[in-house]
Structure formats: C-alpha cells, structure tokens
C-alpha cells in the first residue's frame, strides 16, 4: 500500500486501487479513521483496508501531536527539563518526571533520602490509578457505557485535588525532580490520602459491578484484539499489553526502583490475551496500587525530602538571609544551573502503559546534549495491526482503546 496520502485530509471514503480482490469478489475498501475522531484516544490516524466489514490491513499514521519535546529539552537547563517531561505522557506526569529524575541522578551519582522515595512511590501509584481511570472511563463511553465516564472522573477529581494539595498543580505537577521532590507532603495531603485509600476499593467494586459481568461489554471484548504472548514479546510490548497475555513482566518487581522492593503487591496478569483480559489486568492494577498506597502511607519515614547537595538543589530561603555561600549557590542554580558530569544513562519506570524510560546524554555542560524518551505507547501501537486483523470494523474502537496509547507519548 503506497503512502502518498498524507497531504490529503481524506475524511471521506475512497475506493482503493483496482485489482485488489476481497473474499466475496468485490474490491477492498480503504477507509480513513482520520486524526479527528471521537474514539481514537487522541490524534491517531489509521488507514484501514476492509473486505466487507473485516479488516485486512491497517496502517497507523502518527505525528499529529509531534511537539519537539526532545529538541526543546536540549535548549533548557537540567532542572527546567522536568517541566517538559510532564507533558509527553500527559496522563501520568509524575511517572515521567521520575524516569528523568532517576536517569539524571544516576549521572550525578546521588541517592535521594527514604522519605523522598516513599513520596515518589505515592505519587506514582496515585497517577497510575488516575491514568487507568481515564482509560476505563473513555473506553467505557466508547463502547456505550457512558456511566463509566462519570464515575471514573469523579475519583480522578479526588486524585487531582490531592495533586493540587501537594504541588499546586492538578495535572502537570513537575513534582519529582532530580535530587528529590518538590515539597514535603502536608498533613492535609496525608489525610486526603488516608480517606482515598479507604474509599477507593469500594469504588473499584462499583466499576466492576457495571462492567465485568455485563453481557454487552463481555461480548464486545472477549476474543477481540487477541495478542498471543509470543507475539507480544516479539513486538516489544510492555505493560498491560504484555501482562494481559500472561507474561508476568513488571519493572516494579523485576528491576525495582525507588524502594518498590519493600512493598508487598502482586503483579496482575491474565491468560485471556484479549481486550477483556487487559481490562481485568488494569482493574487489578488499580487495586494493587491502593494496597501500595496504604503501605506507603503507613510506613512513611521521617526525614528530609531532598538530597543535601547545594550544587544540585537550592538552599531554603531562610538561609539566604544569613549565609553568603547560600546566596552564591542560589544565584548559580537559578541563572546557569548545575552541570552534570559527561556520560549517558538510561532509567526506566513502569507507567500505566508499560515501560517509560529516559535516556540522557550529558556533555558536561548545564544543558543536556540529548534526552530521549522511551515511550511505552510508541511501541505498544505497533501490534495494533496484528490485533485488528480479521476483526470487524466495529471492533476497531475496542481494539484501539485496549492499547491505551497516549498520543503525546507516541509523538513526543
């Protein structure tokens, strides 16, 4: 199939080239799931060849949200890059921050204190739940269950209120930074977290009551979008796409970071390999995330939340009144910024979608030479053709939804 149609907008239907025969003797029909579509979870364009109602070929065209984040990061100082890391996988900003912070800390050779690790885990798990809630709400409404949107976003509002309490921002918190976290948890935050952990399992039960045994949902997702385990591994899928095919691969267990080895939780897998299996995996992940949050909250250690290195993090403002050295550090950090020793490092974290990583190359100056984001959604979008083959065009919505791609991450 030739790729000559990126100049056209093509929201209509065109008949494909002559000679391409379908099983019923007609020609294959090429349709365009244009970038502006209510159910593609963002600006994804798919060119689909249909034989009657069945999908024979599928080609995703991406790039409609390309933001030049990696180029932008080369023009910013090390501490300013945290702000743009929030915005590529915009459903899990703290997790992106964490990947970048871990990579830079590897190069700097600093270890954050335990309280910072615990707060990082808390924010990551809250974000994981928030991201799965968006997936569940939007997948629900695309399959027709519009109540799911209302219920899921109600809980998401609670999580965003907690984000706002701890960092001042609802979504793009920029909370986790190289050297620690932005600010300590307030007592009100810890209260909100406590009541959230108590109420959330009941809410997840509500969602399951709506969907898990619902015959319409089951018939639209069981057997749809099959991705066998071998194919998932060969195509490099990670996250629920891989775990929904029975492979128990979770970076938090296999290659733990930020103290995840100290928490007791299970890895959610499903042997069903289809959309329904991935739905069960994500529901279970939400429950496990609440478990981790409860443990992290109960065991939150005391202490500082930032590494005590004035070359990396600014001194507290009270010190500026008395110490000349503090003023010099403050000035240097806010004008030129710190320099990271030359070298390269890769750090990966487990986001709601899979392995989100950050590969950082430093040339010894105060700006990065290269920041590459390993995007889980970019790799998870490649099995889409394999999953959609020979399904009906009406199942496309369920299949695109189950991949849970965030186009900001795909296009960066």
């Amino acid at each position: 199939m030739t790729d000559t149609d990126t100049g056209t907008i093509g929201l209509g239907v065109t008949v494909t080239k002559a000679g391409e025969q379908g099983a019923f003797g007609g020609e294959l029909l090429t349709i365009n799931f244009g970038p502006h579509h209510p159910s593609t979870h963002g600006v994804l364009r798919l060119i689909v060849d249909l034989d009657g109602e069945q999908v024979k070929r599928l080609k995703p065209i991406i790039g409609y949200l390309h933001t030049g984040i990696e180029k932008q990061a080369e023009a910013l100082r090390w501490q300013q890059v945290v702000v743009v890391t929030d915005r590529h996988d915009y459903l899990s900003p703290p997790i992106n921050n964490l990947a970048y912070a871990l990579a830079v800390e590897k190069l700097l050779g600093v270890d954050v204190p335990p309280r910072a690790d615990a707060l990082r885990v808390i924010m990551s798990e809250l974000t994981r739940i928030a991201s799965h809630l968006v997936w569940l709400g939007t997948s629900g409404i695309e399959l027709g269950a519009s109540t799911m949107l209302m219920y899921c976003f109600r809980e998401r509002d609670t999580i965003l209120d907690m984000n706002e309490e701890i960092s001042g921002f609802r979504m793009h918190t920029s909370y986790i930074r190289p050297g620690g976290v932005m600010a300590d948890a307030t007592p009100r935050f810890l209260e909100m977290l406590d009541s959230f952990c108590t109420k959330m399992p009941g809410n997840i039960d509500e969602y399951e009551a709506l969907l898990t045994m619902n015959p319409i949902f089951r018939s639209r997702t069981i057997g749809i979008g099959r991705l066998p385990a071998e194919d998932a591994k060969v195509l490099g899928a990670t996250g629920p796409m891989l775990r929904g095919s029975g492979v128990a691969w979770d970076l938090r267990k296999k290659m733990p970071y930020s103290g995840y080895e100290n928490y007791d939780f299970e890895v959610a897998t499903s042997d069903m390999c289809d959309c329904y299996g991935r739905y069960l995996v994500r529901i279970k992940e939400m429950r496990e995330a609440v478990r981790i949050l409860r443990q992290a909250l109960d065991r939150l250690p005391d202490g500082p939340v930032n590494v005590d290195d004035r070359k990396v993090l600014p001194p507290p403002r009270e010190e500026l009144e008395t110490s000349m050295e503090a003023v010099i550090h403050h000035f240097k950090l806010f004008t030129e910024g710190y320099s990271v020793p030359a070298g390269d490092a890769y750090a990966a974290v487990e986001s709601g979608r899979g392995e989100n990583g950050c590969y950082v190359v430093s040339d010894g100056t105060h700006k990065p030479r290269r920041v590459k984001f390993r995007a889980a959604s970019f790799v998870n979008l490649q099995p889409l053709e394999r999953m959609a083959l020979n399904h009906m065009v009406a199942d496309m919505v369920a299949i695109i939804g189950t991949a849970d791609t965030v186009l900001g991450d795909v296009d960066r």
Binding site: T6, Y64, T67, K71, R87, L149, M150, R170
Partner: protein
C-alpha cells in the same frame, strides 16, 4: 371593562422583545462544542463535561464529533505542523455562526514549547474568540470562558459577523 381585563391579563403573560435578543438568547444558551481534544487540555475538557463541573448546565450537553453539527470549536491542546491543515479544514466545515475557544497555553500562544514543531498559537490559522491561559486550565476556567462567550453571543443578536 372586559377589554381592560383582557389587556391586563395578556400583559402579564406576553413578553415583548427584539428578534436579536431572542435569537441571541437561544444561540447563547445552546452552544454545542466540537470535540477537538488534542492533548492534555482535552482531559480537563472531559472533566468539564463530567458531573462535578458539568458543562451541560450551560447548554453544551451535546459535544458533537462531527463539525457539521457543532457551533463552537474548543481547541484544547498543542497544534503541530501536521495537524494545522486538518484543524483549518474542520473549522471550514463548521456552519456559521461559529466560535472558537482556544483552551490552554499551547493553543493560545505555543505554551511551553517554543520550537519548530508547533504552531505558536492557533490564532495563526483560525480566528479565536476567547483565549484561556493555563497549562492545563482548570475545568472551571473553561466554564468561565464559555460564560464570556455566551455574553458575547447574546450581545451579537442577529448582526452577522464581519
């Protein structure tokens, strides 16, 4: 006597107004947005449609996906070079009268990203009526913008836009 009573009772049950005010009132209270969610701001736009903030109270119950059935395009998110011609085509497909709300810093001015890949403001290709700053703006900010737009629509009446 009977005529005065009739006139009196009619006076209490009939409103007089101008055609412009009536049409403005009708249009303003039933603005149907076009779902043009691009990036992070789209998630806050979805929050605006959900129960706690509820844009449906303001008449925007039907968030249409088809531009032919929508009045207002909420550009929520960053507009890349590849997406710009598509945005313009969709804007052209909307029937008059139509309005554009540019939601968020990226849609208004390019936002955090001052680089080659993004359009530095969607007003380079479509005329914008209300800009909402923020990254992303709160759902209440979108409601505020909608209310400002409603005032403007009601004031416009039947005067065609220039």
């Amino acid at each position: 006597m009977g005529v005065e009573a009739l006139a009196e009772s009619l006076g209490q049950n009939i409103l007089t107004t101008t055609l412009g005010k009536l049409i403005g009132w009708g249009r303003g209270n039933s603005v149907w947005p076009l779902q043009f969610g691009l990036a992070c701001c789209a998630i806050e736009m979805i929050h605006t449609a959900t129960a706690s903030v509820d844009i449906a109270r303001f008449g925007s119950e039907a968030m249409r996906a088809s531009p032919r059935q929508a009045d207002m395009m909420i550009v929520s998110g960053r507009v890349s070079q590849k997406m710009a011609p598509i945005l313009r085509t969709i804007y052209d497909q909307m029937p008059e009268p139509k309005w554009v709300i540019s939601m968020g810093a990226c849609a208004s001015t390019g936002g955090v990203f001052n680089n080659y890949a993004l359009l530095q403001g969607v007003d380079k290709i479509v005329p914008v009526d209300v800009y909402i700053p923020g990254c992303p703006p709160r759902p209440e900010d979108l409601l505020n913008a909608l209310m400002i737009l409603q005032e403007r629509i009601k004031a416009q009446g039947i005067t065609p836009r220039s």
